[in-house]
Symmetry: C2
Subunit: 315 residues, 2 copies
């Protein structure tokens, strides 16, 4: 398993842990990096001081490369960018904003920059902005999602051969066979969120992790499309949102009902009824809370079995 | 490329053409079968006499195995089942209904039966009903679709190792690399709709084929979820449906606006404004109307290049 992404980041496996709000602090990121993948601290849910603390703790916890994820829609992004430069972070994933904003400046500091997109035109814009790679994220992904609802399978085929920079596939990937499939379709690596959100090292509330492993098909849906589309686990909060959507409620009313801090309440504090539980569709195929080391090992073994399956079919 | 499905049907490649309304008559089905795949006559849009005529013409046009698709939600299914038995059809795909209804009777006539599902529980029910294989169809697929919005990538991982009968992956597959990926993830074969809907041999209106090859990301959406979810190409008709959905229109009102014959009007007669244009999300990656022979050849070459890509990465 060697490719452009492993060389770019200096990692062993082309497996990147998604930088998720309320799930991926230093503990998860360092565990993934120590296991040979690329761990990312999810900056989205952290105030600047806490963000700095997580970076410092992550440096203590691993001597392997790790990175941070900065969604460009929160008020702290300027300050977070300043902090990560000060702290010598070498890999930054940006999402939900304009890749032109920080890319050139980050690259002047010798930082590798990756931008997250959900279609070809933003992938090309990111390439033009000078990023080192793009994450292409499909409809299956948890949390914030594209408006076009294009799935990972379709995105990979639509983008095939159209980018010069490396491509990281995300959304719906929860097994080694899916990693194998994504790479066969042209991805250089994958980004995995839900599986790591449900890991022992995730900072998600244990009650939320239990719901992820219990989730079945149809238990996550893309909601709040009138605001920003978000993939959510069904619960009383999500049911109310659905009712509002079906009755044609105006988006101001929905924004007011959503309020602030719903994701923290659900994912971090464990209010499983009224909190917002962001998770991917692949949670239906996750059946156990495991350590990161076990997850990585299982992914690699399952990848190998997909490889041997294809080898067997063809010889 | 040898596996359980090619043996089951006696075909060369594990590629099955979706039995689509208004697109797949005898001309398309026989062309796919002649090219080494499995062609299916789409019974859904045919009155009994026309259905018989298409079967008879297909028998004239190919000496290779072919089949028919019967959606169990139309009034003619009893009569269509009687006709296909009389005509000696040996392969039947059923969809949109209870697999118990006809499976035992069809099998007594020596007919291979496949049922189309969109989740694990219906796949297991179909297996219990005695079908020979299931088609598992994801959110990407054109036309009628599941309510749970599970994508093909997630379905394949969720179902991995849980079925004894062969599994055919459908939805979002429009290239050889996606066939390779689906098989690596455990599918025995794939079913392809959109690519064949846009083929020269498809009976779809030429204007509709032109729209398919022009379609970009986001140009198809899943609509009419309150009635039966259907993936549609965006056009003035679909835009009106979207507006009704966003304003919370009751489903009776939507059913009345939909009326009857919209799909024939759009897909067959070429009313591209007010007709219903059912097509898959993968149409964004389809750029040319080709003959079935070219499509099959391209799929196989692209499959091989995915295989060599993985071979190169690992040696």
């Amino acid at each position: 398993m060697k490719d452009r992404i492993t060389k770019l980041f200096g990692i062993q496996y082309p497996i990147i842990q998604g930088g998720m709000i309320w799930c991926s602090g230093w503990r998860l990121a360092s565990a993934v990096s120590n296991a040979g993948g690329l761990g990312l601290i999810g900056g989205g849910s952290m105030r600047p001081d806490l963000f700095r603390e997580h970076i410092q703790k992550c440096k203590q916890a691993t001597d392997k490369p790790f990175g941070v994820n900065i969604p460009l829609l929160y008020p702290y992004s300027d300050e977070q960018i300043r902090i990560l430069i000060e702290e010598g972070v070498k890999i930054v994933f940006t999402s939900a904003g304009n890749p032109k904003k920080y890319t050139a400046m980050l690259k002047e500091h010798g930082i590798k920059v990756v931008h997250v997109v959900a279609n070809l035109s933003f992938a090309l814009k990111s390439q033009d902005a000078g990023v080192d790679a793009v994450v292409v994220e499909g409809f299956e992904a948890g949390g914030h999602n594209g408006r076009e609802e294009t799935t990972t399978l379709v995105l990979l085929q639509h983008l095939a051969g159209k980018l010069e920079i490396p491509l990281i596939a995300a959304g719906g990937i929860g097994s080694g066979k899916a990693i194998f499939a994504a790479i066969a379709m042209g991805a250089d690596a994958v980004q995995i969120g839900s599986l790591f959100a449900a890991s022992q090292e995730s900072s998600a509330h244990e009650g939320f992790k239990e719901l992820i492993v219990k989730a079945n098909e149809g238990d996550t849906m893309l909601r709040m499309k009138q605001l920003v589309p978000v993939r959510l686990l069904k619960n009383p909060f999500a049911d109310t949102i659905e009712k509002m959507e079906l009755s044609g409620a105006p988006k101001e009313e929905m924004a007011e009902f959503l309020g602030k801090g719903r994701a923290m309440k659900g994912m971090f504090e464990g209010d499983l009824e009224e909190g917002e539980l962001e998770i991917g569709q692949i949670s239906s195929a996750i059946s156990q809370v495991k350590s990161v080391a076990e997850i990585m090992n299982d992914l690699i073994e399952d990848y190998k079995s997909a490889y041997f399956r294809m080898f067997e079919i063809h010889y």
